[in-house]
Symmetry: D3
Subunit: 131 residues, 6 copies
């Protein structure tokens, strides 16, 4: 049960509908996933977050699939079940293969392990890394 409930298209204000329309047009789909419907109770946050999604996750020096892979990896690391499920779907929609996902999961495990081994070993930063 979502905190404020989900706002469906039929009951949405014009302002919210405009964002939903843009989400569907940008993604070339005919539905909007629950994250946006749950966020729509705060129209300013909805608009800002969707705008940031377009600015941050769109094509640039990194391609959208690479950005999506990074997003998936962070969501796994942060134990966000919804984000894992939704962004695995998103990454698959952008072309991620099962083999890529398996390798990504291995990197997530390895980095999370080493991040703490480094803490445990209290490793000082090498001079070479400071420039």
């Amino acid at each position: 049960m979502s905190t404020f409930g989900l706002i469906e298209y039929a009951e949405a204000s014009p302002e919210v509908r405009a964002v939903y329309d843009d989400i569907m047009a940008t993604r070339k789909t005919d539905w909007v996933n629950n994250f946006w419907k749950a966020l729509a109770h705060d129209p300013a946050a909805l608009r800002r977050t969707w705008q940031t999604a377009k600015d941050v996750m769109g094509p640039g020096a990194l391609d959208p699939l690479t950005k999506e892979l990074i997003y998936v990896a962070l969501s796994m690391s942060n134990q966000c079940d919804y984000c894992i499920a939704s962004h695995i779907a998103g990454a698959r929609g952008k072309g991620m293969t099962d083999e890529q996902l398996r390798e990504l999961i291995a990197v997530v495990g390895f980095a999370n392990s080493n991040n703490r081994i480094v803490a445990g070993l209290q490793v000082e930063i090498d001079e070479q890394f400071k420039t």
Copy 2:
């Protein structure tokens, strides 16, 4: 001051030297960074971690740069200062540009934000994401 101190090449056992040699040969460099020197007090862990590094971070369905970008992103998310500094250097060595790094940092921020907004909104997983 590292937990057990750093083991330099000159004082390393043959077993540890063999790993150091492989690190330098694989990376085509003439030095070994502090993480490995701090870990070398546990030769089995040194060997296992380096072997995993080669297995997990090497070429596959994802290229080594993409894996390194994911590793950097996770290290930022996990607040591991050493890992951030060393893997930014590693990613640059694999061709990461400043522009790519800037976009990566933006994705790290965005995913970390949304991972918690989702928790706050208690969003249920869409049926479409369950298959």
Copy 3:
């Protein structure tokens, strides 16, 4: 299924009942939520945690609602589903409005984003912040 099961009032020892009674009296309710029933298998922990709750979350230089808002925000950040659900209820009981909750969620997202952007940028602490 809770780790040790839940201890209901009817089956509780006098020591545990005394805490339950104090919880209900303090909160002016006629029920005790599952957290305390799950913790009651360790009566010393139950007593200590409830005492700390009264000491830390009660009125002081910060009012109880502000403390509850902080608690909710931390629970979202830490991905504790039970804590989010129970402390949103607690905060509402102390007067939190939906609008306040929406703004709180926005702050949670923003801080979690910036906490990692700062890590990625490896920002040094300004001299002005050191005094």
Copy 4:
């Protein structure tokens, strides 16, 4: 040593200066802290993050001090040293007293403890919290 270095006002582009000017005007100060100078290498991120800061952290259903307290608490929970130092300063500038900060730290400790005790006890969400 910040990842890309800090962009000082004198060397900033007009676009970056406009944000710096707005930061100083909004905060009624004559300096800009390192976070923004480190972020300024990505002018779009600088503008977006500052705009979000104004939207999210400004007056609303929650007053700016309460929002700042929440931000400080999250930064402590996330182990972001820079954020702790800079936002304690920010909160003090908005009127936070030492006594309030001490109580906030106690809440941060308490919530972080209980968030994990709940996980360890595998507590199910009470029906009462689901509506």
Copy 5:
């Protein structure tokens, strides 16, 4: 619904079966838990992870129960529900009593609290701890 589904023994490749056989022989059980079945889609990761499990979690300077207790504690701290459930079972199989588990949960709460209080207080490391 697991990301790639679960690979049951009957449908497993000889390579995967060999690991399953070793898991059951080592643990003296006749079944394999879902973690390994979910990981088996990446046979190299399955082999590597199981080998590391044997190397890291087996007898050494720390006995297997102590290692399992540490693993349980970390899983609680990291909010991994599956890991909490499976490793509590594993620890009980190695002799953990309910009383030990209750004390472990108390330590998990206490350390998580203090880890953040320390951050909030910005405590400098004592000279005595640097040697």
Copy 6:
């Protein structure tokens, strides 16, 4: 620079001195580490935290060294540098050997890796773990 500064014994109130005295007597040392001196600005928190330390970390079904090992492991996982340094010292004082510490670090890495691999694989809890 600690948030409120450190309260040395000579300038401490009788209430704070009583806790310092008990810390030194319990630990059989003639000094108090910075954590307590930084916390002493909140005498109630000082007293409560020290009392909890004695209750939670003292002998019980788990011996004090095992509890200290768990505490160290959690501090590594949570990236608390002060806690790592101070509790490694504490564990050594209770008899922890270097070999035990190396094995502990390996467990910390392994659990942190698997905690996220499990998230990535979205593993369902086995029926056997639910009883």
